[in-house]
Subunit: 220 residues, 2 copies
């Protein structure tokens, strides 16, 4: 399969999931220059022909079909690599997976971070959004007290959550009031697959944006 | 099962799905006063004990478990009522369902309509959000050319999309530039299950908000 990605964007969740499954070699990672809307593989392919919204991730399956949207891609990857146990296959546990994927995608990614990252959104609106983030982070903090993962074991929802939590520092969203969530985030960053995926994408990002000063990742 | 709902909120998608399945009697519909955060069934139950974010829908399954998030609830309802064929059960078709549920939830519901409905978000930010709505509506318009449904047959994703499109009029988001999408919306509203669900919730809404002037639904 092919994963169209941009370093440290939400496509990182799929890279983490693939590495957790020991299946990094199962995918070709194709970087997208999201500003120029081109695939940065030397082909100059117009990324608008792959996703008209210009967003990553896009996954091309082994059968050649294009899938967009993190929740769909992550569940496809989990289904494609069943031995890795990245997602429950039915019943309430699968509903819980879908609930967390949706919560992270709607309440955190779109309702909070997409707004904070958007240079067109005025600061007054961003202040409202930052306030709205608090009860959402509190829901996660409450859920993660006494838990290691969102579900009973590592799942694609954890891959998505750590990807989104990575954006807190650059958007000045503090996790200090949420010790269970902060502890979870630090533990996730220490998992070898997560550490490798994050380090690789940080290096790509730093090379592309030498002027940017990425904050250091927190340590457990 | 119990569905905690608020009239014309995104919980409408579950009511539509249940009616499409001929299974309206399988659920108890419990209205939530989302402003007061109380269940409006005379019990005065603090809805914060059911969902700390105070959002509908929440579904209590027959086994007594609470599920939040539209994408998870709609897929649970489809799984619970398999004979109704409200969702593909595997493969690429299921990925497409999950893709559309995520697209509607993230790109339309949260990125556009939640912002436009929020009285705290300044008008300058809402103007940005309205511009962002255009390419997203265009994606749907393009997809729906020559199609009756989002997938091959009616699915819970259609129930969610018609629910969200219902918000266009009150938020001044025009569909006039998107004839395939507008035609789809009008056709959906004519389906008996959709028409019944919308009419019932409009009536509840009108009774609760006599000062509000709901725009009439468009006709095919």
């Amino acid at each position: 399969m092919d994963l169209y990605f941009s370093p440290l964007a939400c496509s990182l969740a799929t890279r983490i999931s693939l590495y957790e499954a020991g299946a990094g070699a199962a995918a070709r990672f194709l970087r997208v220059d999201t500003k120029a809307r081109r695939v940065a593989d030397g082909s100059g392919t117009d990324f608008g022909t792959i996703n008209p919204l210009g967003q990553v991730p896009v996954l091309r399956t082994d059968a050649g079909d294009l899938i967009t949207e993190n929740a769909a891609i992550l569940q496809h990857v989990a289904e494609r690599l069943p031995e890795a146990g990245l997602a429950p296959v039915g019943g309430l546990a699968r509903s819980r997976l879908q609930q967390w994927l949706s919560f992270i995608g709607t309440e955190l990614h779109k309702a909070v971070f997409s707004m904070l990252f958007d240079p067109e959104i005025p600061e007054a609106a961003k202040a409202v959004v930052r306030r709205k983030a608090q009860p959402r982070l509190a829901v996660l903090d409450q859920h993660l007290r006494g838990r290691v993962f969102l579900l009973d074991g590592f799942s694609v929802a954890d891959a998505y959550l750590v990807t989104v939590l990575n954006w807190c520092r650059v958007t000045a969203v503090s996790l200090d009031d949420y010790p269970a969530l902060l502890g979870y985030y630090k533990r996730m960053l220490e998992r070898p697959a997560v550490a490798r995926a994050v380090a690789e994408e940080r290096a790509i990002y730093a090379e592309l944006h030498p002027e940017a000063r990425l904050p250091p990742a927190p340590r457990a």
